[in-house]
């Protein structure tokens, strides 16, 4: 996907934002630093939503925005949208479905669902014409096995009619024929071979990236619909194993251990988990960033003394307060406490 388009969508005209942090948030690089900036940019819902997607070079994307007068940049690969950039952002946002349908990719592997669903359509389409001479799409070994099992278990249920009904309801529900037409081109079946994103973009004078985003979003809408179906519905099996954890597994284990052994020392946890102390800090910070503010024991991790100092000396914009500046005010402040405090304040402000 073209990074410059995503930067326009996730940029701000009020705040300089880090190109790398936006890109890494979308592709799910869960370093504490990335997650922290995702929090500051209100992008936590989009962590990993474009997993596995290739993006272009940062420099090229930024240069493109600058050349077209869409953004101002600074020396640190941060950018801020100009009025023209904000206009362009508005255009993209009005064309796309609400971004929450992209955010669904953060909680479910929508891209995988898209491939599964499209393969299932092919199988059932050829089945409805009683044709078994065709080239199956094939995804990978495990996915192919899942589709095979699914088909064997459900083919007695008049799948062609069920597919027709599901798609008819879903596409009508979009209430947007242009988008519905775009969606069906992602499919392949008997005597129908669909279109690639490039072909659609050329026909519609649109961008390939926008087409791919629209596909992900519409499949997001479809996935939500399928997830709501009762468990014995034949389509339900196509959603198996798509759910993504909000916190990475190892961070979750560290966090749970901390919660269970109330106020246990972090050193003990590091020993038990066989990780470095700094890793324990990182895991806890990830949990703090990803969980609602009330679900994280800030009190147990920021000493009352430090908290008092921090409250007394922080600037209005806590998010961009640097550790160096804070150290000037509070010499024995630890980075861990400092970051936790920033997270706490940013989240409290958001949730009020």
């Amino acid at each position: 996907m073209e990074l410059s388009i995503l930067l326009l969508i996730f940029g701000s005209s009020e705040q300089f934002r880090r190109v790398k942090a936006i890109k890494n948030t979308l592709r799910g690089r869960r370093t504490v630093s990335n997650l922290y900036w995702a929090l500051q940019y209100d992008m936590l819902d989009f962590v990993d939503s474009l997993h596995g997607t290739g993006f272009g070079e940062d420099e090229v994307a930024v240069k493109q925005l600058k050349v077209h007068g869409l953004a101002d940049t600074d020396d640190n690969f941060q950018f801020k949208l100009t009025a023209k950039g904000a206009d362009q952002q508005e255009k993209y946002l009005s064309r796309l479905l609400p971004l929450k349908y992209l955010a669904l990719g953060s909680r479910y592997d929508v891209a995988k669902f898209m491939r599964r669903f499209s393969f299932a359509v092919q199988i059932v389409s050829e089945f409805s014409y009683t044709n078994n001479k065709y080239y199956p799409q094939s995804i990978n070994y495990f996915e192919d096995q899942l589709l095979k099992r699914w088909f064997v278990q459900t083919k007695h249920t008049d799948l062609p009619a069920q597919f027709h009904q599901l798609l008819n309801g879903f596409l009508n529900g979009l209430a947007n024929d242009e988008l519905a037409n775009l969606f069906v081109q992602s499919l392949v079946g008997h005597g129908f071979s669909g279109l690639t994103a490039d072909q659609i973009a050329t026909q519609a004078h649109s961008d390939v990236t926008v087409v791919n985003l629209e596909w992900l979003q519409t499949y997001g809408v479809l996935l939500e619909r399928v997830l709501k179906l009762p468990n014995d519905n034949p389509f339900k099996m196509l959603t198996v194993g798509l759910e993504k954890p909000i916190i990475a597994q190892s961070a979750k284990e560290t966090f749970e251990m901390f919660v269970h052994q109330e106020n246990g020392s972090l050193n003990t946890i590091a020993q038990k988990r066989r990780v470095k102390l700094t890793t324990v800090y990182e895991h806890l910070l990830e949990a703090a960033i990803m969980l609602p503010v009330t679900k994280f024991p800030y009190k147990a991790l920021i000493q009352p003394e430090s908290k008092r100092h921090l409250e007394a000396s922080h600037p209005v914009n806590v998010g961009s307060w640097t550790f160096e500046a804070a150290k000037q005010e509070i010499p024995d402040l630890s980075f861990f406490e400092f970051r936790l405090f920033q997270i706490y304040r940013s989240k409290s402000a958001d949730e009020n």
Partner: protein, 485 residues
Amino acid sequence: MKINLQSALKNEFGFDSFRPGQETILKNLFSHKNTLAILPTGGGKTLLYQMYGALSRQRVMIVSPLISLMQDQVSRLQYLGSKRVVALTSALDYQEKAVILKHLNQYQFIYASPEMLANEQVLRQIKSLNIGLFVIDEAHCISEWGPDFRPDYLNLGKVRHALGNPLTLMMTATATKTVRQDIIDHLDLESTSVEQIVLPVNRPNIFLSAKILSGQQEKDQTLIDLVRQLHGPGIIYFSSKSKAEQAAVTLSSQTDRRVMAYHGGMDTQQRFHIQQQFMDGNLDIVCATSAFGMGIDKDDIRFVIHYHLPANIQSYVQEIGRCGRDQQPGLAILLYEPNDRYLQMNLIDNTIPDRNLLQYLYQHPKALTNEDQFRVIKYYYDHGYSFDQATAVFDHSRERRLSELTAMVRYVYHDGCRRDELLKYFDETLSEDQKNSAFCCDHDIDFWGHWQNFNDKYLKQSEKSVEYRPQSWHEVIDKLFLLKN
């Protein structure tokens, strides 16, 4: 075993007749004779072992050198109705490999790369199965003197013994006598115990032509003129992905044909759509790279144009063999401008290691990983070749490729029957009464002065391209699912 092959072909696979050589080869296999078959591309290699497996109900193991080739074959086998097919390749991740190995006995057709078979664990698992037919595809890779030598192929003789010497079918599209003997020797077979079936290379229904142009600009213009008028479907071959993509864009905008690029650098979903569109007749032309064959079997391709010079006559014959599989007239055009030769020479320089690289690797053998580009060097290093010996091998290989390229260029400039010139490289000759001078090559008739007439007379527009195509989403879902009632 008494089997009526003709009726099995019709009943189980839906074909009316065998392609040349297929029936003889199958008869050989059913009377348990090891067979070396030289079959042209599109000669229906897959059907041979698929049919043997289906009728004998035995397990078939197929060794194939390239992942992309294997994936194509797997889908082709599935297309023809066999579903118990699996491919053991380095493309599998650890978990997939473990699960597949554990359930290997559920599969009837097992594809494997030679590297996989060099793995003890994999070989042990395969040894526990009964292999009824051992197939070696692209068997010429076993020959050190062949153009595509794959050191891992040398191991296959041992593998064959380890599997208890099952019935063996060796297949390749082209192989000289020396290479054929090499194949038999390396597999530790007796020449007398191997039936050799060599099919003619000549495809009388493909018209041969070439045009020499002054430069790239003239070549581009000629390509546009041809694509505007030639009745498709067609394939245009390029030696680079970027040029293939570029040409697809130009041709789409300059002509009213539906053109797309197709190459290994594209993602699988995209490739699948394009392949399917081409099959369904929704695309007229694909701009492909020569390294990347299409897995599909499309019978009604009417022309193959080479925008870039192929590396050698063998590749050229294979690539033009993709047109006219329905036995209807097809057209092969080679466009050439003098710089094309240097493009190919650069490709040779890039594929054969130069003295400096070789020296570096001999001094730092740890860098000799199993990466594809170093595989051959590693083989010579591991087998105790000195630096000088290895240098000599690669020098020889470079010279051979250059002389193959020279032969290819000679074909372009050839002032005589092109068919004779092509067949010369396969020791094949045609008598005068086997030739049809009205439909042979651009030496025998003034093709370039009248190619539009040739086009109208011989190249038939495919019926598929005029079929009804659904437009709105309502029509699409109605078309996709045929509803009873």
